[in-house]
Every structure is written in structure tokens, then in C-alpha cells.
């Protein structure tokens, strides 16, 4: 009996005009998301390569390592283009310095501010907003529509268990619509290599899990809509309730959780912290100023000796200041990070009431575009900072930490030009993205929650239908 209802449901879905229209719209959107994602990735990749080349050219144009303004860049990843997450909000460039705090700038939205308002149409948007709404549109009258039309009564004039009917209906709807969604998804995925986007095995696995999460997310909205349909007598009421639930789940809860966590955990803003750091830096410099003013060369009047002594004093002062600033910054940053982490934990816990947040967290974690992206980029940059500092020390005698520089160059009588630098000598920056294993285990909780929501809504629909008035 289950099989009969299941097949009937599949046929009914596939033959309905509602399906034809929705399938056409979804297919276009999904394929477009893959196409645009691929194009964006390729554009980002060429932009990244151009920036790398520019960096190399800049090194090659110099004759002194001390004069090099070195930058490192966040390399684009194909999955970042498919599930944007925070990748467009994170600064992609870091001006490298041998010591001190690093900061990333030049976000994608700097280049394309319009997208900061309207955002990109990635897979997360398609599943999170469009498909969840389509699930409601598809299933809001799954039960009460049959009651109103009279087919439910005709079905149950036969000896069919309610459990078989609702199970067949849920499974038929889910499989029918999922297969229909998988077709454009597979076409979109096949487009990636054709458009020149080569995914590694690791990235294919991540993409497969993102799609699994998306289908689980779609399935729970479908079960929710069928459940609502089994609790109401009129399709119009079910649609209204479904729409209100959708608005809360998709639009309100994720935003509200951030607002509520902001109220619950107080975190100083970045400007305050920067101002504190600047004040402290100024204070330390003011403390050192008398020492600089009282500088007197110890012996002789040879300008080069004077300069060497002055530089040594300045370096010592600067090192001492920097040590104090680093200690202060570390303390203030730790405090800030702890509070911010607590605020984020509260926000994420609250937001997980909404399946949309859960799906967003799972998919961005798998795509490597979660909140961790910035931390990971900065950690990689900080690791590189040590390598860079050692390299610069080796090349220049100082750690490449910017500040005041004076170069005295002498040329011999033959006027020989100094040699330009070899950019290949500069150590390469490598962004350490999360491994598949780490990403999968980090997203396990959210994927589990999506499955749990499915079971809960399925159970809800099932129970509601067992008590449904069939007349």
C-alpha cells in the first residue's frame, strides 16, 4: 500500500502544472547559481593571480629588500563562489609586516558595493530562501487539499492504514521533488569543469555534503508543510500558517538571535579597541620622546656613526615600545575575543532554533566560508609573519617591520647599477584551509540537527494525520 501511494504521489507531482512551473524556475536558478559561481570564481582567480604578479613585479622593481611593500592575499576557492558565506565580507589582502598586528582589507564588497546590498545568488540563497518557500508552496495543501477535493474520502473508503498513506505521501513528495532538484544540481555541477573550474576530490565531497544538507533542509520544510496541512481543514489557512512559519524561520529568527545575543553579551566595538590601542601607543611614544630629544652622540662627529647610534637607540626604544604594545594588544584582544566568542556562541545557539541558520552554518562550514574563514586567514598570515620576519632579518638586518628607514647608498666610480631583487626568494604564503575531515566533523552537529528536524516534522505530520478528520 505504501508503494502504491508513493508512486501515485510521484506521478501526481510530476504531472502537475505547479511542479512544471516550479521545476523550471528552480532549474534556471540552480544552474544560474553554478554558472555565476563558476564565473565569479574564475574572475576572482584571475584577479588573485594578477595581484600576485603585481606583488612580484613590485619586488622585482626594487633593489633593496627594505623597500619592498609585500602583501599576501586570500586565495579564492571554488566552493566560496558557490556558498559565499562570509567570504565577501572578509578582507582579502594583508600588508605584511615583520611584527605588529596584521589587518586584512579590500573585501569583495569594496570592489562591488552593490552586492553588499543585494548579495549574490549562491546555492545557500537558492536552498535557504527559494527552495524552502517552494517546499511550502508544494505541500501546503497535501492533505487538506485532498480533503476539500474529496479524494481523501474516496481513498479511505478502502482498507488503507493511515500510516501507510501519510508515509507514502511524505516519501513520494520528498523523493519526487528531490529528484527534480537533483537534475539541475547535477547539470550545474557538471558545468563546473566545463567552465574551467577544477574541483579536487575533497571539494567534490564537500559539495556532495552541501547538497545533502540542502536536500535535508528542503525535506524538513516539506514535512513541515505537510504537517501543517494535516492540522488544518482549509488549504488557505495552511498556506498562511506555512508562510508565517517560513518568515520566522528564514527571515526573523537568524537576525533576532544576533540582536538578542548582542543584548545578552556586551562586546566593546572595534573602534573602541583601536582607540585604546592608539592611546596606549601615543602614551608610550610620549614617554620615549624626552629620550629621543636628549640623544647625544657618544663619540666623534662622523655622520655615519651618529646615524648608527641614533638608529640603534631608536630601534631599542621601538622594540621596547612594541613589546609593551604587543602585551597590551594581546591582553585587550584576548578579552575582546573571549567576549566576542561568547556572544557568537549565544547567537549561534539561539539561531539554531531556525533550520535556515542550521543549513547556513553547515553549508558555510563545508564550503570553508564560515565565521572561521577570517580567523583562519589571520592565523595563516600570522604564521607567515614569522617566516617573513626571519627572511627580512636575513636580508636586511631588521625584521621588515616598516617604520622609519634610511638607506645610504654609495656607488663606486664606475657607476654600476645595483641588481634588482629576485621575487622567487620571497617565501610563499600558503592559506591553510580546513581539511575535509575537520569541515565534515565541524558540520556534523548541524547536519545531524537537519536530520533531527526532518524526523520531528515527519513525526509531527504523521501524528497529526493519524488524528485527522477524514470527512
Amino acid at each position: 500500500m505504501f508503494k502504491l501511494i508513493f508512486i501515485k504521489e510521484l506521478k501526481e507531482i510530476l504531472q502537475s502544472s505547479r511542479f512544471t512551473i516550479s521545476f523550471a524556475v528552480c532549474s534556471v536558478l540552480i544552474i544560474l547559481a553554478f554558472f555565476m559561481g563558476a564565473k565569479n570564481y574564475l574572475a576572482s582567480q584571475s584577479q588573485y593571480e594578477a595581484a600576485l604578479q603585481e606583488n612580484r613585479n613590485q619586488i622585482a622593481a626594487n633593489t633593496e629588500w627594505m623597500m619592498v611593500q609585500h602583501s599576501i592575499m586570500l586565495p579564492p576557492q571554488p566552493l566560496m563562489a558557490l556558498v559565499n558565506g562570509v567570504s565577501n565580507d572578509v578582507g582579502r589582502n594583508i600588508s605584511m609586516s615583520g611584527r605588529g598586528e596584521l589587518s586584512a582589507d579590500n573585501t569583495r564588497f569594496n570592489d562591488e558595493p552593490l552586492f553588499a546590498i543585494f548579495r549574490f545568488m549562491d546555492l545557500e540563497f537558492i536552498f535557504g530562501i527559494v527552495l524552502s518557500l517552494f517546499a511550502i508552496i508544494f505541500a501546503y495543501d497535501a492533505i487538506n487539499g485532498e480533503k476539500v477535493s474529496g479524494t481523501l474520502k474516496l481513498c479511505f473508503a478502502n482498507s488503507i492504514p493511515r500510516a501507510s498513506f501519510i508515509s507514502g505521501k511524505l516519501a513520494g513528495s520528498f523523493v519526487g521533488l528531490s529528484i527534480a532538484l537533483l537534475i539541475p544540481i547535477l547539470i550545474g555541477a557538471a558545468l563546473l569543469p566545463l567552465l574551467g573550474v577544477q574541483l579536487s576530490a575533497d571539494e567534490w565531497l564537500r559539495l556532495a555534503l552541501i547538497i545533502f544538507s540542502g536536500l535535508a533542509y528542503f525535506g524538513l520544510f516539506l514535512a513541515l508543510a505537510i504537517g501543517i496541512s494535516a492540522m488544518t481543514n482549509r488549504p488557505s489557512n495552511a498556506f498562511l500558517i506555512g508562510l508565517v512559519v517560513w518568515i520566522f524561520a528564514v527571515l526573523i529568527v537568524p537576525r533576532a538571535s544576533v540582536l538578542i545575543s548582542g543584548r545578552l553579551v556586551d562586546v566593546p566595538n572595534v573602534d573602541d579597541i583601536t582607540a585604546q590601542k592608539n592611546r596606549y601607543r601615543t602614551q608610550l611614544f610620549d614617554e620615549d620622546r624626552p629620550k629621543m630629544e636628549k640623544f647625544k652622540p657618544a663619540n666623534g662627529t662622523d655622520p655615519q656613526d651618529v646615524m648608527t647610534q641614533f638608529s640603534a637607540m631608536m630601534r631599542e626604544l621601538s622594540t621596547n615600545r612594541q613589546e609593551k604594545i604587543d602585551a597590551f594588544t594581546e591582553r585587550i584582544n584576548e578579552e575582546y575575543t573571549n567576549r566576542k566568542n561568547r556572544q557568537e556562541d549565544v547567537a549561534l545557539a539561539l539561531s539554531r532554533v531556525s533550520p535556515t541558520s542550521i543549513f547556513t552554518l553547515a553549508s558555510t562550514e563545508l564550503a570553508g566560508t564560515s565565521l572561521e574563514l577570517q580567523n583562519r586567514f589571520m592565523s595563516s598570515a600570522e604564521e607567515y609573519q614569522n617566516v617573513y620576519a626571519n627572511f627580512m632579518t636575513e636580508k636586511t638586518g631588521s625584521g621588515g617591520h616598516g617604520g622609519f628607514r634610511m638607506i645610504i647608498r654609495t656607488t663606486d666610480d664606475e657607476g654600476e647599477e645595483p641588481e634588482t631583487l629576485d621575487p622567487n626568494e620571497m617565501p610563499q604564503f600558503e592559506y591553510a584551509k580546513t581539511s575535509f575531515k575537520t569541515a565534515a566533523s565541524n558540520s556534523l552537529l548541524d547536519m545531524g540537527l537537519l536530520v533531527l528536524f526532518n524526523l520531528v516534522f515527519f513525526g509531527g505530520a504523521f501524528t497529526a494525520f493519524l488524528r485527522y478528520d477524514l470527512r
Binding site: 502504491l4 481513498c155 478502502n158
Partner: protein, 261 residues
């Protein structure tokens, strides 16, 4: 009217059937009826008399407050799945799946009824028997008139081949020709030995084909006549007489006045 079959055990039986809804309305009051193989029992009565409630109890869509409904000797409310194997149902307004063709609908509902060994030819024969044009067999139901849908409904009942049939005002809204064809089919099914319980407003058709006519008034079976007893009796007068009694009763209790105000 095959009187020799009446002696067999009833296929449909209401025994002291009472239904009081949650709002206190008594829809059925101690209803007793039996329909034997080869019989048609027509339930007449105004709106709210309890006709559809009776059918809903037989189909286990609602539970009786007390009493029992039996289909082929099986309690329809304690063992509904088994009981419903023995009954077909045709509603007042047969609604099938509009995106399916007549054939697809037939196939689904007949399989749902437990018959999975029919061929397309069997489906065609059933549809021809109920008078559906061949051109309509593979058309989607959304293009069908009410009469065509009713024909599909009776074709499903024929193919399910259950010993008992419940008809809930099956000719309501049909044009006279379609109504007559439908009645003829119901007569044929009775002649094949089916026990048919039919609720209807159509006094003349009820008298024409029924073996028993029962008049329901406020959930009470106030009159029950056999086909033989109705010979020479103007059923319309009889019906009006009972309904007038109902009117008097309601006037006495003031409920009609309350309703009017």
C-alpha cells in the same frame, strides 16, 4: 427484487447506532437497518437527518457514540481495515485526481481497493459498461463533467467488486439522462447480488429501484417500507407526511422559530 436472497445474512447492518456530536447534536438515534445481498436500501430524509452520518460510520470516518455498524459481519469501527475490504463507496460528487487520466485514476483506486490483477481491457470494459465515451479514457479528469466523474466512480466500485456498496446521494446534480443511466447501473449491481445502501433526496428514483425505503428524521428511522409495501402508495405523500410531522415537532419545540429569528 430477488426475494430469495433476502434470507441470507445482511452485508450491511446498523445495530442500535447512535451518534451524538461534540456540540451535542444527536445525528443518529438508535438506528437499526439491514441490507442483504441483492438488496437496495434507500435512506430518505432532509438535510441533517443522519443519512451521511450513517455512511460515515460505516466507512469509519467517525465513531458511533454507541451501537455498531457491520459490513459483512465485521464491525466497521473496531476492525475498519478488514470491514472496508467488503465495501465500495460512491460519493455525491466523485472527485478523482485531476491530473490523472480516467485510466490512471481507475488503476490507482482499484489497486487501493485491493485488486491488482486487472488489465487495461478490464478497465476499458468497466468504463464502457458505465457509459463513458472511449475518447475520454485517456483524458485528464480535470476536463470531465460531474456526470463523467460519477461514471468513473461507479466503474471503480464495479472493479473493486466488493459485496456491499455505499452510495451517498449519487445522482445529486446529475441531469435526468445521466441520473437514469446511473440508476440502471445500480439496479444491475443489485441484480449481481450486491447489497447497496443509498442515501438520496430523490424520492421517485428511490421508489423505482429500492427494495427498502427508510425515512430518517432527526437521526431516527421514522418509517421503513419494502418495495411491495410501497406499491400503490404515493411515496411523496408519505415522505411529506413524515416531514410534516417533523415540522410540527420542531414548531412545538420552537426550534424552527429560533432558526428563523
Amino acid at each position: 427484487m430477488k426475494n430469495e436472497t433476502i434470507k441470507q445474512a445482511p452485508l450491511l447492518e446498523a445495530r442500535n447506532l447512535t451518534k451524538v456530536y461534540e456540540d451535542g447534536v444527536k445525528a443518529l438515534d438508535n438506528l437499526q437497518l439491514k441490507v442483504h445481498p441483492g438488496e437496495i436500501f434507500a435512506m430518505l430524509g432532509g438535510n441533517g437527518a443522519g443519512k451521511t452520518t450513517t455512511i460515515n460510520i460505516f466507512l469509519d470516518f467517525i465513531q458511533p457514540t454507541s451501537g455498531n455498524a457491520f459490513i459483512n459481519g465485521i464491525d466497521a469501527n473496531t476492525n475498519p481495515l478488514e470491514a472496508k475490504r467488503n465495501v465500495s463507496f460512491v460519493s455525491e460528487n466523485v472527485q478523482l485526481y485531476p491530473n490523472f487520466t480516467a485510466m490512471q485514476n481507475l488503476d490507482f483506486f482499484v489497486r487501493l481497493g485491493g485488486k491488482s490483477n486487472y488489465t487495461r481491457a478490464d478497465y476499458e470494459n468497466a468504463l464502457v459498461r458505465v457509459g463513458l465515451q472511449r475518447e475520454a479514457f485517456d483524458k485528464k479528469l480535470r476536463d470531465f463533467s460531474k456526470g463523467m466523474r460519477q461514471k468513473c466512480g461507479i466503474a471503480i466500485a464495479i472493479l473493486k467488486d466488493a459485496p456491499a456498496i455505499l452510495l451517498d446521494e449519487p445522482t445529486s446534480g446529475l441531469d435526468p439522462k445521466a441520473g437514469k443511466e446511473f440508476t440502471k447501473l445500480v439496479g444491475e449491481l443489485r441484480d449481481e447480488g450486491k447489497a447497496i445502501l443509498m442515501s438520496t433526496h430523490d424520492i421517485f428514483r428511490a421508489k423505482e429501484i429500492s427494495d427498502h425505503v427508510g425515512i430518517l428524521n432527526n437521526g431516527i428511522l421514522v418509517a421503513k417500507k419494502t418495495h411491495a409495501e410501497l406499491k400503490g402508495v404515493n411515496l411523496e405523500d408519505l415522505y411529506v407526511e413524515y416531514m410534516a410531522g417533523y415540522m410540527d415537532e420542531t414548531l412545538e419545540t420552537g426550534s424552527l422559530i429560533n432558526n428563523l429569528t
